[in-house]
Every structure is written in structure tokens, then in C-alpha cells.
Symmetry: C2
Subunit: 477 residues, 2 copies
């Protein structure tokens, strides 16, 4: 009991210390544990079940667009990593190097993949001969390693799980279309399933992926007003194809370079779920992603018939992901535990409820308690889950709208960054030097040039030079 008590008591409030609140939730909701391997984490059953649900939903959406899954090696020979200049510069400083296999030193070092563009290029070079072999629309679910100095569970760790899609196309147009298509898959998944509204847009030259022509991103706003890059999709043009010699014979018998894309979504998105929806009682999971949607808690479960009724109720609710907590903890602890774990609905049922042919249903997101007749509980639970999903999205959207500000000049920008929180929309000149100065002065970074532009003026908010693009700025994870 001592252990359970701690779980509920020790959580820091969001207002007091958001970073500590995050760490508390991640640990107390049993999502992860630290390990002896510095910067790496154990993803525990509650955390991994969430990732499995994410995988199922995302993988299904991928396959509907024609994606096929493959698996490429965990290692990249040093020579292969070096083939594309910008790419190696971006990744070499943060990879883990394997230098020995068994008892012998290797002739060539291998890095543990930080991302697999180079391996896919090496593969496509042999796979693609004719226009008939195109497009290749492959994806892999795997772990990648990046030797980060400072780590935080889900948000930044030395190893993380993700999917990385890599495609090859005959034309630049088709590659661009696929880049945007996959960004839309991510955006729809986030909004429809995770109830997280996102801004779709393009990264600046400075922030784009190492080796890409253009990087598109979805950006979400966390509860503390900081932004989180939640998924990216890159158009490589034919840069990698030229570096690796990936050519095909076209219909009119010419040798052409392929055009490539890549796109990724990682366990980082679990950090977004926590920081968008969580509250001072812990995690709050949107019903569509919750591994368990409904927890039935028998009250006075030792009384005759209570556990039987709970089991019967579980069967009745089999259209949903439902469990019965019949452990020997007392109901109060069970309630707190399930709140911590973010289960969308709790159904309390005790002897009096049974007598009155009803149950008490409690919403995790609002705490609202609703008496429901057992005759109609099946339909009502379905309606409530839909309502919660919708309400959680609306709440997150409202939070983002209330925390998105327009800065027409640098004074306004400074006022917002110093006294408010959230996104700042402003016109920007597009120059890296100016972007770096803004970051230096305010620690705000360019998040994205949204696909849906607004005209807020014609000069850069910082340097006053002509500006044609509206940029979202923000402090970010």
C-alpha cells in the first residue's frame, strides 16, 4: 500500500513545475523506467501498449496509401554514411560507433543507424532499373540511436522507436505529392486519433533535414505553451539519387535519376499526448488511442454478486477496450490509479447500483459523474467516448488559439515572448542570419511556414527587410 500511496501523492502540479510534472506523470503512470544504459529507457507495458495502438493506427493509414513494410540493417558502414555530404555532417557527430565484432576489430567502423536514408539508397540502387520498378514506397518500424547529451523520456533519448518511410519516384512532382500526402497522414492521425490539433507547414533552410530539399512538419502546442515538432516529411529531390547513383530507364529509354522522400513519426508523439492532454491527476488519454478505454471498478466487491455483475458488464461492453479492476486495493486507490493512467471512462458498480439497475460513469477528462441505466450502458459508453474524443480536441484547439499571437513588429514580439506563451505568427525575411539572431535574443525558433498563409505585412518582424512569408515562432522541445 505504501508504494501505491506514493504514486498518487507525489505528483508535482503543472503550474508549479511543468518539467517536473511531466517526469512525475511519465513515471507514476508507469509508462517508462530509467535503466543502467545512460540516456536509454525501458518502455513499460502501459507505455508500450500506447505505442502499439499508435503503430496499428498509423500502419493501417500507411497501407491504405500503398506503403509496404520492410526491414533494413541496424548498422551503416562509415563509407556509406559519408556518401551524401550534408547528411553525414548532420548525423556523424551524434552516432554510436561499433568498432569490434566479437573479439576482432572491424576493418570499417559501423554506426548504429540514426536514420536510414543511406541504407535505403544503397538498396534502391540495386532494386530500381526501369520505370516499371517505380515507385518504391517502403517503410520500416525500428529503433534508432542518436547520441544526445541531454535526454528526457520520449522527448529526447539516445535510442527511440519510430517508423521511417523512404520512397523513390520517377518524377519530382510525384515525390512532392508523396511528401505532402504523408504529412497529411500524420496530421489527420494526430487530429482524429490523438485529439491534438497541428499546424502543417514548411521548415526553414536552417531547420530542414540534413540532405533534404524541403522538410514539412506538423507542429503542436503543449500545455505549457511550448511547441513540439510531432512528425516530419522530407522531399530530397534527386540529391541522394545523384550521390548514390540511383537511376532508372524511362519509358523513352533515357537514364534518369529517381526523386526521393522520407518521413518519420516517433515515440516522441507520446510526449505530445502527455503534454497536450495531461492534468494534475496524471495522464488523460483520448479514447481512440487509449489501450484501455473503460475501467470497471467494483465497489464493495466482496458482497455477493458484485464481481459477477462487473464481469457481466465487461461482456456487455465488449465493443470497447474494457477491463475490470478486481484487485484487492480499495476503490479510492483504484480511482486515483486509473486517473493517473488516463483511462477515459471509469464505471463504478456496487450493490446499491445493482439493485437500482444502474452504474456510475466518470469521465477522466472533466471528472463529470453520470448515472447510467444498465439497460442502455452499451450505447451510452459509446456516445461518451465519442464526446470525450471531440471535447479533448476542442479543448486543445481552444488552448492553442488562445496561445497563438500575432507580432507585427519586434516590440510586440518581445512583449509576447516575455509576458505570454505559445506560438507567435509574424512575417519573416527567410534569412538564416536573422533566424539565428531571433533565437539568440529570445530562445524562440522558427517552427514552420504554415501551408495556410496570412498576410500580416510586408517586412520582417526582426530585421525589417522585405518579407513574403508568415512564420510560426515559438520556444520548443
Amino acid at each position: 500500500m505504501a508504494k501505491e500511496k506514493k504514486m498518487v501523492e507525489q505528483i508535482t502540479s503543472m503550474e508549479e513545475d511543468f518539467a517536473q510534472w511531466y517526469t512525475d506523470v511519465v513515471l507514476k503512470a508507469d509508462l517508462i523506467d530509467y535503466t543502467s544504459v545512460k540516456g536509454c529507457m525501458v518502455i513499460k507495458p502501459a507505455g508500450y501498449a500506447l505505442w502499439e495502438r499508435i503503430q496499428q493506427e498509423v500502419d493501417r493509414r500507411f497501407k491504405e496509401t500503398g506503403v509496404e513494410n520492410v526491414y533494413l540493417p541496424v548498422f551503416i558502414p562509415e563509407g556509406l554514411l559519408q556518401k551524401e555530404k550534408d547528411h553525414v555532417e548532420g548525423f556523424a557527430p551524434e552516432v554510436a560507433w561499433v568498432t569490434h565484432g566479437g573479439l576482432n576489430p572491424l576493418q570499417e567502423r559501423l554506426c548504429v543507424r540514426p536514420t536510414s536514408e543511406t541504407l535505403f539508397c544503397d538498396f534502391y540502387k540495386n532494386e530500381v532499373e526501369s520505370y516499371r520498378d517505380l515507385p518504391k514506397v517502403y517503410n520500416q518500424w525500428c529503433s534508432v540511436v542518436r547520441w544526445e547529451k541531454e535526454t528526457r523520456p520520449f522527448l529526447r533519448s539516445r535510442e527511440f522507436l519510430w517508423q521511417e518511410g523512404h520512397t523513390a519516384h520517377a518524377t519530382a512532382e510525384e515525390a512532392e505529392e508523396r511528401t505532402v500526402q504523408m504529412l497529411n497522414v500524420y496530421a489527420n492521425f494526430c487530429e482524429e486519433v490523438l485529439a491534438i490539433p497541428v499546424i502543417k507547414g514548411q521548415k526553414s533552410e536552417k531547420e530542414k533535414f540534413a540532405g533534404a530539399e524541403a522538410t514539412y512538419t506538423i507542429e503542436a502546442l503543449m500545455h505549457d505553451g511550448k511547441a513540439l515538432q510531432s512528425g516530419t516529411s522530407h522531399n530530397f529531390g534527386d540529391g541522394f539519387a545523384k550521390a548514390f547513383g540511383i537511376q532508372y530507364t524511362s519509358k523513352d529509354n533515357k537514364l534518369e535519376y529517381v526523386h526521393q522522400t522520407s518521413w518519420g513519426l516517433s515515440t516522441r508523439i507520446i510526449g505530445a499526448i502527455i503534454m497536450v492532454h495531461g492534468d494534475d491527476s496524471g495522464l488523460v488519454l483520448p479514447p481512440k488511442i487509449a489501450p484501455c478505454q473503460v475501467m470497471i471498478v467494483p465497489v464493495m466487491q466482496k458482497k455477493e454478486g458484485v464481481l459477477e455483475k462487473a464481469a457481466e458488464l465487461k461482456d456487455k461492453l465488449s465493443a470497447y477496450r474494457v477491463k475490470v479492476d478486481d484487485s484487492d486495493k480499495n476503490p479510492g486507490w483504484k480511482f486515483a490509479e486509473q486517473e493517473m493512467r488516463g483511462i477515459p471512462l471509469r464505471v463504478e458498480i456496487g450493490p446499491r447500483d445493482i439493485e437500482a439497475n444502474k452504474a456510475l460513469v466518470v469521465r477522466r477528462d472533466t471528472g463529470e459523474k453520470i448515472e447510467v441505466s444498465l439497460d442502455e450502458i452499451d450505447t451510452r459508453i459509446g456516445e461518451l467516448l465519442d464526446t470525450i474524443q471531440k471535447d479533448m480536441y476542442e479543448k486543445a484547439l481552444k488552448h492553442r488559439e488562445e496561445n497563438t499571437h500575432v507580432a507585427k513588429n519586434w516590440d510586440e514580439f518581445l512583449d509576447i515572448i516575455n509576458n505570454k506563451q505559445g506560438f507567435i505568427k509574424a512575417m519573416w525575411c527567410g534569412e538564416t542570419e536573422c533566424e539565428e539572431a531571433i533565437k539568440e535574443e529570445t530562445s524562440a525558433t522558427t517552427r514552420c511556414m504554415p501551408f495556410v498563409q496570412e498576410n500580416l505585412g510586408d517586412v520582417c518582424v526582426h530585421c525589417g527587410k522585405p518579407a513574403h512569408k508568415m512564420m510560426y515562432f515559438g520556444r520548443a522541445y
Copy 2:
């Protein structure tokens, strides 16, 4: 066209050169490709789809027994690997060592996990305090690395995909029960889904897992008469618990060590599917595991109405995993291609069939051609898939029975090993020295002491000492 032609022509016959036949099938059925990373392979869409089906089937069976999935780091610090003496001796010679993170040398080397017993122990040490925390029944799906000198696709590669289950229990009995339970999950999966009959039994002291008290195995017989270890389940007793200090407080408030198990099944099983069921036309997939069960091939597809009818048929067969091959290859090539890929049923439909309201259904396993009325094709396809599944199992079982021999003395043993192929059942003394001598003289190894024992005498087939156990011997992959 040139490329497709090669695919079908170049396959070596099984009788001529089984090893070359295997390599041909693996490549021509588009399961894998070689890579620039020596000893590692690309698992291509057809191969990975097979692994995804295996994962689904196995994972569902796991979860029915209460298994929860987790994810632990890809790295093991050298000090952690060394904690259990037998274990480190078994694995240290074949691991890949990471010595640098980014630009800096590491203070302690990390190996890329060859298996994760040590990480799970390190994790359980913190997770388990009281008997209430037990059992822990966790599993992870991941890749592991073993620095093999000679590699073959699926059978032995430097990196492979697998699941590894790791459990901790309060009592030795419970651990033993779980060890056997998981072996049975593997055996049932192999027999029911993969149509591969297996022998369940115990490994010798020499062949057991490094650090285990007992290793149980399922052994299958390949078409060429060699055995393949197809899944293993280990009982660790409290050996690892003592090395890592994993203790819990029992109900009567005593400190006790936990008892542990681990069990794994890998992409190696794909090698078994190929070598048990394949033939000179390529892969033959059991319907229950085939990613595509039925391929509809339109004949004279340019004629009006043919493609429409094929699409209609696909809808009608939506209870199965069905595709239409409407590519511009000619039907002959399509037939050969689908035979190579092992698709259980082919449905041919052309203008004449449509007129006669029928289709020609062709079984991959027997080549049998069956005319089926379109009115009853849905039911007939279901029946045929069931029949194929059953027939493939029966055929594999018959092959194993015909290639399982009893040796009552050493002359018989030598006669079988030199003139026949397959399993040899014989009484064995149980001593490692004797086992090594048998291997030296015949290259046959101990496969397992089957759970179902037969009494074939009372002395060892090789050394003549008293023997109480019947052992399966065989040459093995």
C-alpha cells in the same frame, strides 16, 4: 521482361543442390536482398509481410496467456553482461561492441544486445519488491545482433528479428510451468498455422542456453532431412536472480529470490517454412500464414468486362486475403511468379469462364486445377484453403515419419547417418563427452530428449553405458 524471365528460369532443383535451391527461392521469391553490411540482409516486402503475419499470430497467442509487451534498450553495458558467468562466456565472443558515442570514446563499452536476459534482470531488480509484483510476464519484439562468421538468409545472420519473452515468478514450479506453456504456444503455432510438425523436448547440457537450468526446444525436419531448432524456452531457476539480486518479500515476509524463464522465436522460422514446404517451383505457403491467400489472374484482361469481373470476384472473396494481378505481364509469367511466391490459390478468369459462370482454381501445393461455379466460389475457396492447410501438415508429417529412424546400436546409427537422412531416435547416456564424440564421428548433434519418451533399450547407442533417455539425433542447420 528479361528480368522476370530470369526469375523463373534460374532456380536450381532441390535434388540437385538443396542449399542453392534455398538461396534461389529466398531471392527469387523476393523475400530478401543482400546488403553492403556484411552478414545482414534487407527483408523485402514479401518477406516482411510474412514476418508481420507471424508476429500477429504469435503475439495474439502470447496475450491470451497474459504476456505484456515492453521495450528495453538495444545496448548492454559490458559490466552488466558480465554479471552471470555462464551467460557472458556464451555470448561475449559473438557480440558487436560500441566504443564511441558521437566524437567521444565511451567510458564503458556497450554491446549491441545479442539477447536481453541481463537487461531484464537489471530492470526486474528495481520493479520487483513484493510477491504482489509477481509474476512479471514481459516480452519484446526487436532485433538482436550476433557476430556470426558464416551467414545464410533467415537461418543465420548477424542481425535477426525475434521476440524474447522474459518472466519472473515467485516459485520454481510456476517458472517451470511457464517454460513449458510457452514451448506449447510455439509448438501449436508451428503445427496449426505453419503446418510444420515439431518434436517437443529438452536440450542436452551441452546444447542448453548459456545460463539456463534447462532448455526446451521444438525441432522440425526440413525437406533435405536436416533438423532445424525452431523455438526455445528456457528455465533459469534462480541463477540469474542470485547473480543480479532480484528478491521479493513473500507473503510470510521472507526475502526470496525470483525464478525466471525466457523464450524466443525468430525470423529463422521463415527458413523452416521455406525448407519444409517449398518445391522446385519455389515457395509454398500454408494458407493460414500466407500474406496473400488467393491471387486472381484475369485472362485476356483487355477484353471488355474481364477486369471488372476480376474486381467483382475480389469483393466476393473479401473474407480471405485476396489480390488481383492486373499488371501488364502475360498470364504465363503471372502464374510462374505466383508459384514462386507460394500463394496458396490462383483463380484464373477469362471471357469464356465468365460466359460459363465459372473460374479455374489452381492449388499451389498440388497443382490441381478445379473448375468452380462463380455462385459457390466463396465457400469453395474457404474449403480449399482449409484442405491445403491440412494436406500440407499431413505431407510434412509423413515426410518426417518416413525420415525418422531407430538406431539400437552404433552400426545401425552409422548405417542411417551414411545411407539415409532425417532424425535418429536412440538411447543415450547423457554425457557431454559421448555427445561430442558422436558429433565428431558423424556430424550429428543431439536435437532433444522428447517429452514423449520411448524405451528402445537400456544402454547408450554410442558408448554402451547405462542409458535412461531416448534422444533425437540429426544433422542440423
